[in-house]
């Protein structure tokens, strides 16, 4: 099947910051993004879990975004501007997509 190179950006961010990140992405006019729930995790600041939580404070969210190679850098900068003072994780992977027009 004919595929085209693209970039997959995954951002793990404190849940209370999620809306700021998506607002920034919306403003930067990215082609789209998808938010996955996160159940638990661990890092330098210790373990946490969403089980039984009523506040969003102790938790993270995960945002996945597929975009063209050309736009990746701009998206990264937009995301990083929100994430930078925080503990968020940003990773970028090379991928292939079928309908490249969707991701521009």
């Amino acid at each position: 099947m004919q595929t085209h190179p693209a970039k997959r950006i995954e951002i793990i961010i404190e849940a209370p910051l999620l809306r700021r990140l998506t607002d920034a992405l919306d403003k930067a006019d990215v082609p789209g993004y998808t938010v996955l729930p996160v159940l638990a995790g661990s890092g330098k600041s210790g373990p946490w879990s969403r089980e039984g939580q009523v506040s969003s404070a102790g938790g993270m969210a995960s945002v996945t975004l597929v975009t063209t190679v050309e736009r990746a850098d701009q998206v990264l900068e937009t995301a990083f501007a929100v994430v930078q003072p925080h503990i968020g994780i940003v990773s970028v992977t090379d991928c292939e997509v079928i309908r490249p027009a969707r991701f521009a």
Partner: protein, 324 residues
């Protein structure tokens, strides 16, 4: 003293407190007992809706007095000023950084709605009335503390002023909106409205509270297990000292306002309790450098259990003494 002890004993042996202890113990023992996040949030919404509505229906029944206005103002002042005291104490005894101390201080100026519920349940059981509008005071006390804390932290973070987005987020925090909204609806629909939904918000309330406190115990225990090392002894000391200081301010204010014994006890509880919903989320956004393990564990793992098991009995006894 005797009254306090017997009150405290009755309180500790109530199903609600025992379920909290069960959850706490289960977490410490690493049981996998857990309540799904959605169910916990659902119960939290239920409690907010129920107490908001009942408070409003109470106001509808008893009419509004000028005291309401004064109590609201007192709530704002208390919420905004308690963090100052907390901050000074923390900086003096705890060795926490400026930012961490400010973040912790914010929690103590704000309030814990489930501690409020524990106190009002105790009052209901004892047949002691309290002003329905105290729910509105509780709601208004959620936010001001956050502003004080940001000012306190600004020396360290270098940021001046408060982010407008954050302000909106805090004022329109879901729990505040539901509490105030349900209060308004209770007020508008009054006793008649209450009659319609009583079988949902009154009868099963204590039972839901048991399950909710089981959950709080599980989370508090989990926090203590994983974050104990972040809490030095002076920090823990602060976690039991600060509620008593807050309660004293609440007592003085309540007496000045001329609240009923129940009302004084409730205001003491609001001042004594530490936030666990609105403030932690705001701190993560506004003070990312502050360590959440410290403020979450202190608020939920130390101060909340203290208030639930010992504090509220103490506050009620003292309020009765002064107000009786």
């Amino acid at each position: 003293m005797d009254a306090i002890l017997s009150l405290a004993a009755a309180n500790i042996l109530s199903p609600t407190v025992l379920f909290f202890i069960l959850g706490f113990a289960a977490s410490l023992a690493r049981s996998d007992l857990s309540i799904p996040e959605a169910v916990a949030k659902g119960m939290s919404l239920y409690l907010l809706l129920a107490i908001g509505f009942k408070g409003g229906a109470g106001v509808a029944e008893n009419g509004l007095t000028v005291t309401l206005g004064f109590a609201m103002i007192a709530g704002i002042i208390l919420s905004a000023s308690i963090p100052l005291i907390a901050f000074v104490i923390l900086r003096a005894i705890s060795g926490l950084s400026r930012v961490d101390a400010a973040a912790v201080a914010a929690h103590y100026g704000s309030i814990s709605i489930v501690t409020f519920v524990a106190m009002t349940s105790m009052l209901d059981a004892a047949g002691i009335a309290f002003e329905g509008f105290m729910v509105a005071v509780a709601a208004i006390m959620e936010a001001p503390a956050i502003l004080t804390a940001l000012l306190l932290a600004s020396g360290a973070t270098g940021k001046k002023g408060v982010d407008k987005d954050l302000l909106r987020e805090v004022m329109l925090n879901g729990s505040i909106v539901l509490l105030i909204g349900a209060f308004a609806i209770g007020w508008i629909t009054g006793v008649e409205g209450l009659a319609k939904i009583e079988a949902f918000i009154v009868s099963p309330f204590q039972g839901v509270l048991c399950l909710f406190l089981l959950d709080m115990g599980l989370i508090a225990g989990r926090g203590m297990r994983s974050s104990r090392q972040h809490l030095a002894p002076p920090v823990i000391l602060f976690g039991v000292l600060m509620p008593v200081i807050g309660a004293s301010l609440g007592l003085a204010s309540g007496l000045l306002l001329g609240l009923s014994v129940g009302g004084v006890a409730v205001l003491m509880t609001l001042c004594a309790s530490a936030s666990y919903i609105a403030v932690p989320a705001a701190m993560r956004v506004a003070l990312p450098a502050a360590n959440p393990s410290i403020y979450l564990t202190l608020s939920l793992g130390v101060t909340f259990p203290f208030n639930l098991t010992v504090g509220i009995s103490l506050y009620l006894a003292v309020a009765s003494l002064f107000g009786g």
